[in-house]
């Protein structure tokens, strides 16, 4: 039982990491970036390729993946969202163009890596087994949880306590007012995408490290659960995404224990349905009326 809960927390931390990147962009810019799952997948492939080619240790690998993700995020904004800025249907059009860009990214990955899943080199990361209070955990799982926690708390600190975070919150509330006081909105936008995609690619590489391999459907496999996490937590809420990620991870783990793994999707979405009916803004979301 405890073992299952622990496993749920590990899976949930990856869900949460995927979800906070997505929810960050929505919270600050009101963009629904549906290329996020593709960027997540790209992070896994890039992580595997870099690990295979250079054999750099894992604590250098993740910063490298994050830098790649940051650049990818800036490109996603430039390609899928920037050209649509100022249009009446800018948000909806951006949603569609980001779906298209996501498709292009997956096709590029397929062109480069083929259709077979790619694997981390064997013995790349020592998959040591620990036993803590009767629960067996692998080193990979510990690294996953630790990295997810550091990144999420780091992001929360950045948004609430730094001058960049203050500028981001100003843009989130009222981009024109932010511009008036001297915020470089273009720069904040690029920075938000960079952070979002860096988190997404690191989450992808972490999931691949846990699975040992990655296929081009890696993003698709987490996409729906990831979006459930975001809505469950309240769109735009960082703490909500973190909590909901762990809740869904736990719910899945418990479903597998007491029912069968085929039921796990059902439980995630039943939970989502219940929350939407009982508390439409999500667990942590707050209703915000946008200025016209």
């Amino acid at each position: 039982m405890l073992q299952q809960l622990a496993n749920g927390v590990f899976t949930g931390s990856i869900y949460a990491l995927f979800a906070i990147g997505f929810t960050l962009v929505f919270g600050i810019l009101r963009h629904l970036n549906l290329a996020h799952p593709a960027v997540f997948t790209a992070g896994a492939f890039v992580g595997i390729e870099v690990a295979t080619r250079t054999a750099i240790p894992v604590w250098i690998l993740f910063p490298v993946v994050a830098v790649f993700g940051a650049l990818a995020g800036v490109l996603v904004e430039r390609i899928a969202f920037r050209p649509l800025r100022g249009r009446d249907d800018e948000h909806f059009a951006g949603l569609i163009s980001s779906v298209a860009l996501g498709g292009v990214v997956i096709a590029l990955l397929q062109a480069r890596y083929g259709t077979e899943p790619q694997s981390f080199p064997r013995e790349y990361f020592p998959n040591q087994l620990f036993e803590i209070a009767g629960i067996r955990v692998t080193l990979t799982q510990l690294v996953t949880l630790g990295l997810a926690l550091v990144l999420m708390l780091g992001l929360a600190w950045l948004v609430s306590a730094t001058s960049l975070g203050r500028a981001m919150r100003a843009v989130a509330e009222n981009p024109t007012a932010a511009q008036v006081v001297g915020v470089n909105v273009g720069w904040v936008t690029a920075g938000t995408y960079a952070m979002s995609s860096a988190l997404g690619t690191v989450a992808g590489a972490l999931l691949a490290l846990n699975l040992g391999q990655a296929g081009r459907d890696l993003g698709a496999s987490i996409e729906l659960v990831g979006f459930a996490v975001i809505i469950l937590g309240g769109l735009g809420s960082l703490w909500g995404a973190m909590a909901a990620g762990v809740i869904l991870g736990l719910a899945e783990a418990l479903t597998i224990t007491y029912f069968d793994s085929t039921w796990k999707g059902l439980v995630a979405f039943a939970l989502l349905f219940a929350v939407l009916v009982l508390r439409p803004r999500g667990l942590f979301g707050h209703v915000k009326v946008r200025e016209v």
């Binding site: 919150r169 100003a170 007012a177 932010a178 001297g182």
Partner: protein
């Protein structure tokens, strides 16, 4: 006479097919107070939007201390000391009062005044510094909007309808603050619907009608000009 600190040279502003500003030119001398008055929709706010960089003029130039800033983005103009206090205040309600001030100082970190100086100038903000700015009354929000501009130690401050929607007593306070600002040597461009009040505070005035300057000159003369009196000042 020395070079003007701010020059607007035959600026045109259009929104789609609608021409909001037609061939507007005026100079603002350093330390001066220039008022732009006129009816609702005459294009006063559009002139300030063009000067502050929120809209790009279709043609014409804007010079700040002799530099052509027409193509500069808004944040860069703030960095150069050209700061707007926008119409409707536009304070950031989800941020605290102190965060609003820090945001105002961020682009001009080297020149900016310490936060404490703003609290001395606006004691009401000091009491509420850790509250979300949305908790302030309309008049207090206007004070915050002005303080947020003044903390940047601007060279030129653009005030867009600072007395709009305020109770008469608050209006008096706002105009007292404007007097203080100019006494401190900061150049002011003031857009107001309350034409009489604005012209009394100003050295120079320009009257806008349907996007163009109809009359201009020393504010004291405009206050006596029968055409201006009839159209904008009414009988006192």
């Amino acid at each position: 006479m020395s070079e003007p600190i701010l020059s607007v040279e035959s600026v045109h502003v259009s929104y789609g097919r609608v021409q909001a500003v037609r061939d507007v030119s005026f100079d603002v001398p350093e330390g001066g107070l220039v008022a732009l008055v006129g009816a609702n929709g005459a294009g006063k706010s559009s002139v300030l939007a063009a000067v502050s960089g929120l809209v790009r003029p279709a043609s014409g130039r804007i010079l700040l201390e002799g530099r052509d800033v027409t193509r500069w983005p808004a944040h860069r103009r703030v960095g150069a000391g050209l700061v707007l206090v926008p119409e409707g205040r536009q304070i950031l309600g989800t941020l605290t009062v102190a965060e609003n001030l820090r945001l105002g100082a961020q682009r001009r970190r080297r020149q900016a005044a310490p936060e404490s100086e703003m609290y001395e100038l606006f004691p009401v903000l000091a009491e509420r510094r850790d509250l979300p700015a949305s908790a302030l009354s309309g008049g207090e929000q206007q004070m915050l909007a002005i303080a947020r501009a003044m903390i940047a130690k601007p060279r030129v401050v653009l005030l867009d309808e600072p007395s709009m929607g305020l109770a008469p007593k608050m209006c008096d306070e706002v105009f007292a603050v404007i007097e203080q600002i100019r006494a401190s040597g900061v150049t002011v461009v003031l857009v107001e619907q309350n034409a009489r009040r604005a012209l009394r505070a100003a050295d120079t005035g320009h009257v806008l009608e349907t996007g163009a300057i109809a009359h201009g000159g020393p504010a004291s003369e405009l206050l006596q000009d029968p055409r201006v009196v009839k159209a904008y000042l009414g009988v006192e």
